[in-house]
Amino acid sequence: MGRLFQRMPWITRLGLMLVVLFALAALFGPFVAPYPEAATVGDVWQPIGTEGFLFGTDTLGRDMLSRLLYGAQRSIGLALIITVISFTVGAICGFLAAIAGGWVDQLASRIVDVFMSFPALILALLVLSVMGSSLPVLVLTLAFIDGTRVFRLARAVAVDLNVLEFVEAARLRGEGQWWIARKEILPNALPMLLAEFGVRFCFSFLLISALSFLGLGIQPPAADWGGMVKDNAQALAFGLPAPLLPAGCIALLTISVNLVVDFMLDQAARRSRRG
């Protein structure tokens, strides 16, 4: 692990450090936040560096730093839960479809194609406005949308692996499909899936932020970064930087995760090239 860190270019190291920083903020944010999440504690739109409010206050006079910390936990935590669910379900279904082949594969793939033909945001908006925006609905909807993408990738990787002779050898031995998926396919698909995990995490994170910005994601007064951009959007008209702070966090986290993922993909490609 230490050697791996040594090999990273400086930009990847920077990205990794930022990811760790955000992760710590998400884990411990609410404990270190100076004020409660939704309490009005000062004047409206105090500038950055005001006495007692390191990052100023928002449109209702709530402490920006506290809301950013609470928002980190909610935005990152939700994105993580969604990505874990979508990967578990998507990868298992993708593997099994590839191994089973034939009409099972065809049917599953076409169903997924139908859902993938809708833009993710439109589909999410449709479901959330019909079902109403509650946390379980939000999580399941986004996990499903993400899951279709994961299915596609997992299936494609598994189809390639499935024709290799070690899988054929397992089949000749008489192994079941579940065993083949778990023991023969998964370990070989893992590097690719892990890299995709980072990318998909960013997408679901951005999607939550976008939905919150549109008012269909996390509901006020709960803090989340996308909602905070929306709440404070008008501040820009007065030359105040309030909405840029959550927007900056969204951008920074997305870029940092991508930097780390890029490096991992590079490593995986190098390893597979050298066989």
Binding site: R7, E168, L172, R173, G174, P187, N188
Partner: protein, 531 residues
């Protein structure tokens, strides 16, 4: 002196980024019109030296010492624009895989003439004229129109020759051939070899011919340089190296090719496998026609034929991967279900398969313990310490140390991986092992060791082999019975001594005559015999 390499040293990096020396101070020289064969096993550095003649090293490698002079010009330190002028014009390269070297989207003639025009050697019409002339020299069909085809519309052997045309179009002084016939069938190989040799001679070009096959190099080279682990082992005239090798390693290489044949007693028990008039098809395309064969207890039956003869399909049918459309398969007196799904665990255990490419036959993410241990758990229900004990026993039997159990396939050589595959098959305690070209992806010395191991295991355990191969030297070494296949049919079969001795069946004779022999004038004799 056309090419002069002095004390050449090239470094590369291994998987962990550690620097390793690939070429450790090799010197050689090639005169105009001379062909020098570079020979050695994989990892000997022969391709690296071949590429160095073009002033090129693979990504991750670098020149660390010595000099490469082409016609007096230093190509190691030459600037890129000078190298671009030299490459193709003064020195050309023919790669092992022509299929990977042509752009599938363009016609052959366009890709070949491009070289001519890039170097500003005259109008396109001249280039086309010369291309057609070279097509003719290399014996390609309908030379006037051959160039109009796309790469996928010609056979592998033809594409390899087209690549030679591309190399020769600008009349280079030196051509580097990098295993140009390795990927071809024996019968195709002869034609390509003959065409290349004639073209080199007529064009008066010099050549570096890189290969691992001594018999091939014997046909084309004037001199041979034997390489091992980046060092020059022996340099001499072709005849001297083949007939009176000075070094121990060269003697080993030569003797493998002349490997003794395997003479063993007859057998008494009931046949292990009976294949009775099998037909099989992929979709609409029928590939096997009325194939029958018999494998006796503790015997080895070799199935030989060119690629496309249906021998691998036969293996798929026997293992149940491709159910036959007609005929039946009997295993130790019992009927085998045609489809894999219908076979019992016991039948699956008794019939094992070893693949051609050990690299993809084992899961790269499993340790050797898991790979060999799985059949033990799956068939015999062994667990925990019992599995490890048995795996170590099997490792000893395939002559690998016990601590290899904890290694991953990536940490093993090709030969060691193939040994692991053999151990995995043995773990099931089978009656019959189907060996599908098990030695063709290995270096000759390693292949020889694998064959010896298989023979030893047959002696110890009385297992039968169905040996699928296109290599007749292998057949001579290990088979008791031979089945010759051509276009999906069995054309000749019987005891090895009968099939492989005169009078030959037409096709068997052709196959036999196509195996390069280690005499310098073998190719001439074969070509003379064909006319």
């Amino acid at each position: 002196m056309l090419l002069e390499i002095k004390d050449l040293r090239i470094d590369g990096s291994d998987l962990d980024g550690k620097t390793v020396e690939i070429v450790k101070g090799v010197s050689l020289s090639v005169d105009r019109g001379q062909v020098l064969g570079l020979i050695g096993e994989s990892g000997a550095g022969k391709s690296t030296i071949g590429l160095a003649a073009l002033g090129y090293v693979r990504p991750g490698c670098r020149f660390t010492g010595g000099s490469v002079r082409l016609d007096g010009q230093d190509v190691v330190n030459a600037p890129l624009d000078l190298l671009l002028q030299i490459r193709g014009r003064k020195v050309a390269y023919v790669a092992q895989s022509a299929a990977a070297s042509f752009n599938p989207a363009h016609r052959l003639i366009d890709q070949i003439c491009e070289v001519h025009q890039r170097h500003g050697l005259g109008p396109r019409a001249d280039a086309e004229k010369r291309t057609v002339e070279l097509f003719r020299k290399l014996g390609l069909p309908a030379p006037e129109n051959f160039g109009q085809r796309y790469p996928h519309q010609v056979s592998g052997g033809q594409l390899q020759r087209a690549m030679t045309v591309m190399a020769l179009i600008a009349k280079p002084d030196l051509v580097v051939f990098d295993e140009p016939t390795t990927a071809l069938d024996v019968t195709t190989q002869i034609e390509v070899l003959a065409a290349m040799r004639a073209a080199i001679r007529e064009e008066g070009a010099a050549a570096l011919y890189v290969t691992h096959d001594l018999a091939v190099v014997a046909q084309v080279a004037d001199k041979i340089l034997v390489l091992r682990h980046g060092n020059a082992v022996e340099l001499g005239d072709t005849r001297q190296v083949l007939e009176a090798p000075r070094e121990e390693y060269t003697r080993a290489l030569v003797s493998v090719r002349k490997s003794e044949s395997n003479e063993r007693g007859a057998h008494a028990k009931a046949p292990v496998l009976e294949v009775q008039s099998i037909d099989a098809a992929y979709g609409q395309q029928k590939v096997l026609f009325d194939v029958s064969l018999l494998v006796e207890h503790a015997a080895t039956v070799a199935v030989v034929g060119e690629s496309g003869s249906g021998k691998s399909t036969l293996a798929r049918v026997i293992t149940g991967l491709l159910p036959p459309s007609k005929g039946r398969i009997r295993f130790q007196g019992e009927d085998l279900s045609p489809a894999l799904a219908g076979r019992t665990k016991e039948h699956r255990r008794r019939l094992q398969l070893i693949y051609q490419m050990p690299d993809v036959a084992v899961n790269p993410r499993h340790t050797v313990l898991e790979i060999i241990g799985r059949p033990l758990t799956f068939y015999a229900g062994l667990r925990g310490a019992d599995v490890r004990r048995k795996v170590e026993e099997l490792l000893a039997r395939i002559e690998l140390p016990a601590h290899f159990a904890d290694r991953f396939p990536g940490e093993l050589s090709g030969g060691q991986k193939q040994r692991v595959c053999i151990a995995r098959a043995l773990a099931a305690e089978p009656e019959l092992i189907i060996c599908d070209e098990v030695t063709s992806a290995l270096d000759p010395l390693v292949a020889d060791e694998i064959l010896k191991l298989l023979l030893k295991l047959q002696d110890e355990q009385g297992v039968s082999y169905l040996f699928i191969t296109h290599d007749l030297a292998t057949v001579k070494a290990i088979a008791h019975e031979v089945v010759v296949m051509q276009r999906g049919r069995v054309v000749d079969s019987g005891r090895k001594e009968e099939v492989m001795a005169p009078p030959f069946h037409d096709y068997t004779g052709k196959l036999l005559r196509s195996v390069p022999e280690m005499r310098t004038d073998w190719l001439d004799e074969v070509l003379a015999g064909r006319v």
